[in-house]
């Protein structure tokens, strides 16, 4: 066994912290904050299929998962899980979600939902060569 050394924050610690922080912040910034002119929709995925709904409406959806039905409500820009055929109801406890790409996942029933935003194609209609 070797001798115990007194521990202090070193330069390498600070460099590692800063590098990690910048990389992750850059990825976060690119994915979440650079979405200005977007059209968003709700993407619901099960093990075998995908469903896309407009997020700017009022709608009740029932999705068939692996264990049973999952009831989702869309309400003008936000959505939430109301009921699900899972034991813990963690997905229901997540509440209303309006943030793009913030997922609500029901693991036992294998249903996940999140808001996807795509950049509108209004800048260019096409490419001429």
């Amino acid at each position: 066994m070797y001798r115990l050394i007194h521990k202090k924050i070193t330069y390498l610690d600070i460099i590692i912290a800063v590098v990690f922080f910048i990389i992750i912040f850059f990825i976060l910034y690119n994915n979440f904050f650079m979405k200005k002119n977007n059209s968003c929709s709700l993407l619901v995925e099960t093990k075998n299929s995908k469903y896309i709904y407009s997020i700017y409406q009022k709608k009740d959806i029932e999705i068939m998962g692996e264990k049973g039905k999952t009831h989702i409500i869309i309400d003008k820009g936000k959505f939430r899980f109301i009921e699900s055929a899972c034991p813990n109801k963690n997905c229901v406890k997540m509440g209303w979600i309006s943030l793009p790409y913030y997922p609500v996942v029901c693991l036992p029933n294998k249903v996940s939902a999140y808001i996807v935003c795509e950049k509108e194609q209004n800048e260019y209609d096409g490419i001429s060569r």
């Binding site: 521990k7 202090k8 995925e45 813990n88 997922p103 996940s112």
Partner: protein, 166 residues
């Protein structure tokens, strides 16, 4: 000497498992933890060899999930994967750069590798691209908490471990 070492391993394994259970009681979220239970494990990396650290990590995961009632369920498998990735990457990093770094960078690397392992295994269970976005948020919060945990780890190491001469 060997008996003292065994006692220390048992002490750290118990402490880490206890903090893991306590942590899950104070935070109601299903996948979000502060990572305080990794402070004893980081200190173990300095005091013990790889196999002894493996025992501490496995004891923590098994005991805490047995106590929470999630033994051999999805969270258990995900947590086990995260902890083992943390052990392999964190231990090798610490042994290589021990002289140049403190627990702060170990904690940050640990938080990153822990989340990475969890996300890789979770991708087997969650049939969605949404996991990628969750991963970015988790790793971002993990790095901030890793830094704070690392500072506390340094303080605990200097105040208690150096004085007790474990």
């Amino acid at each position: 000497m060997k008996e003292k070492q065994s006692k220390n391993i048992a002490f750290f394994a118990g402490l880490s498992a206890f903090i893991a259970v306590f942590e899950s009681l104070i935070l109601p979220f299903p996948f979000f933890r502060l990572g305080i239970s990794n402070i004893p494990i980081c200190i173990c990396f300095d005091l013990f060899n790889f196999w002894e650290c493996l025992f501490v990590v496995l004891f923590k995961v098994f005991f805490s999930h047995l106590f929470r009632g999630t033994f051999f369920s999805y969270p258990f498998i995900i947590a086990l994967a995260g902890n083992l990735t943390f052990l392999v990457i964190g231990f090798s990093f610490y042994k290589l750069f021990r002289k140049f770094t403190s627990f702060v960078s170990l904690s940050i690397i640990g938080a990153f590798s822990h989340n990475l392992g969890q996300i890789m295994v979770a991708s087997l269970f969650i049939p969605s691209k949404a996991l990628y976005f969750l991963a970015v948020i988790l790793i971002f919060i993990g790095i901030i908490l890793g830094f704070i945990n690392g500072v506390f780890c340094n303080i605990i190491y200097n105040k208690f471990i150096m004085r007790l001469k474990l």
